[in-house]
Symmetry: none
Subunit: 252 residues, 2 copies
Amino acid sequence: MLSNIRIVLINTFHPGNVGAIARAMKNMGLSNLYLVDPNDYPSDEATSRAAGAVDLLENATIVSTLEEAISDCSLVIGTSARHRTFQLPIMNARECAETVIPEAKQHDVAIVFGRETTGLLNEEIAQCHRQVYIDANDEYPVLNISQAVQIVAYEIWMANQDQSIHAKETAEYPRKKEMDLFHEHLEETLYGLNFIIKNHPGKVLEKLQRFFNRSRPEKQELGILRGVLAAVQREANLTPSTKNSDAKDGSE
Amino acid sequence: MLSNIRIVLINTFHPGNVGAIARAMKNMGLSNLYLVDPNDYPSDEATSRAAGAVDLLENATIVSTLEEAISDCSLVIGTSARHRTFQLPIMNARECAETVIPEAKQHDVAIVFGRETTGLLNEEIAQCHRQVYIDANDEYPVLNISQAVQIVAYEIWMANQDQSIHAKETAEYPRKKEMDLFHEHLEETLYGLNFIIKNHPGKVLEKLQRFFNRSRPEKQELGILRGVLAAVQREANLTPSTKNSDAKDGSE
C-alpha cells in the first residue's frame, strides 16, 4: 500500500537534499522516488546523505517533466505554503495522510515538492488535485525540503499504523496481593518509626500509597523496597510482624 | 510556553546538523537550543544550514555536561530507538508532545538527543524521566538527527495548537536538583542501615534510583519520602549530613 505512494521532486538544486529525502522516505516505509530534471545528479553528496537508503536513489525514476512523473496517478497532491491560494482544496500534512492512505490501497498517489527556493510554479500546481501545507510558525514557516518530506512521510506512516502498536511491556509486575503486602509492610514500618501515629494516620499514608501504586514498581523493584523496609525494622529495633519478616535483604 | 521547552544536543559531530536543527526548531516555534560539548562548532556549515534561524545558533547555550543543560528542568525526556529498553516509561513523539505541552506551562522541559552514531549513553538515559521514540520503518528506523528533531518539534507545535491538550491538568513536580538531593538522602540512609555497603553498592542502589526516577514523585510526595528518610535516620540513630537534616517530618 505504501508502495503505491510516490514522492516527486521537481528541479532539486542541492543533491544533498535528495539524499536526505531518500533516507527520510525509507525511514517512513516509502520507496518510490521520482526526480524531475534534478540539478547535479547523481552525486556523492546525495549518496552520503542517503546513508542506509542508497537503494532508493539507485531505484529512483528520473524524468524530464512533471507530466511523466504523475501520469499514472489517480491523486496528485502539491505542497505549498499555507497561505498561498491556488483555489485547490487544501489540507495539512495530517489530513493529507488520512486522505492518501485509503486512496493508495487501490491507486497510485503522488505528492509533489517544488524547488528549494521557489516551490511549485502555477502551471505545476494546476496539475494537482489537492494542496498540502505543513503547520508551522508564522514567523518562519519555510522548512528545508528534506524536512518537509520527512513530516509528510511521517504522517503517512502514522496514518498507516494500527493504533494497537505500542511499546511492548516486558517487565514482570507484582500481583495485587504482593503490592498489598508491601503497603502493609510500609505502614507497619512507618508506625514503628513514629512517622505516623496509629489511629491518626492523616493524609500522609494515603499519599504514599497512591504514589507507590501509580509508580508501579516491577517485581524485582518491589523486592528491593521490601528489603529496605526489613532493614529499617532491624536497624531501628522495630518488631516486624511474622507476615513481613521474610522480606529479603537487598544485600544478598 | 514553547519558550520553556529546550532541545539539548549531546556531542553533535556534524555542525551541519546543528544548523538544520536550529531551522527545524524555529519553523516549529521553539527557540532554546542547548549544545553539550559540540564537535567543530561554531561553523560556517551550521550557519549555512540554519538559513533564517541563525538567531537560534547565536543564542544557543553551550555547556560541557548534560547535567548543566538540564539541572533546572522538571521533566527530562531522552530520545532513543523504539526497542531499546531502558525501563523508563516510553512514548512516541505524539504522546511526548501531549505530555510536554501542559508541563511547559509552568516548568522547564528538556528533550535530549544523543550523538549521531551512538545515541544516548546509559548514564545519560539514567538522568531522564521518560523516553521518546519516533515511529518508523523497522527495516530502517534510524533517522538523521535533524529529521528526528523536526518530527519531535512538529508534534509539539501540533499539540500546542490543540486546545484539548491545554486543558490537561498537571501536578507540581520537583526540579532535577531536588530529586538529586533525594537520591543523596536515600543513599546516605541505606548506607547507614547497612542495607548497602559503601564502595560496594552493587546494582541495588542503581535499581532504586531508576525506580524513583521513573515513578516521578510529585513535589509533595517527594517531601513525604524525604520525611520518611529523616525519620529512619532519627529512629535508627543514624547521623544525617547537614544537607539532608532539614527534610520535614511527615507528621506535621
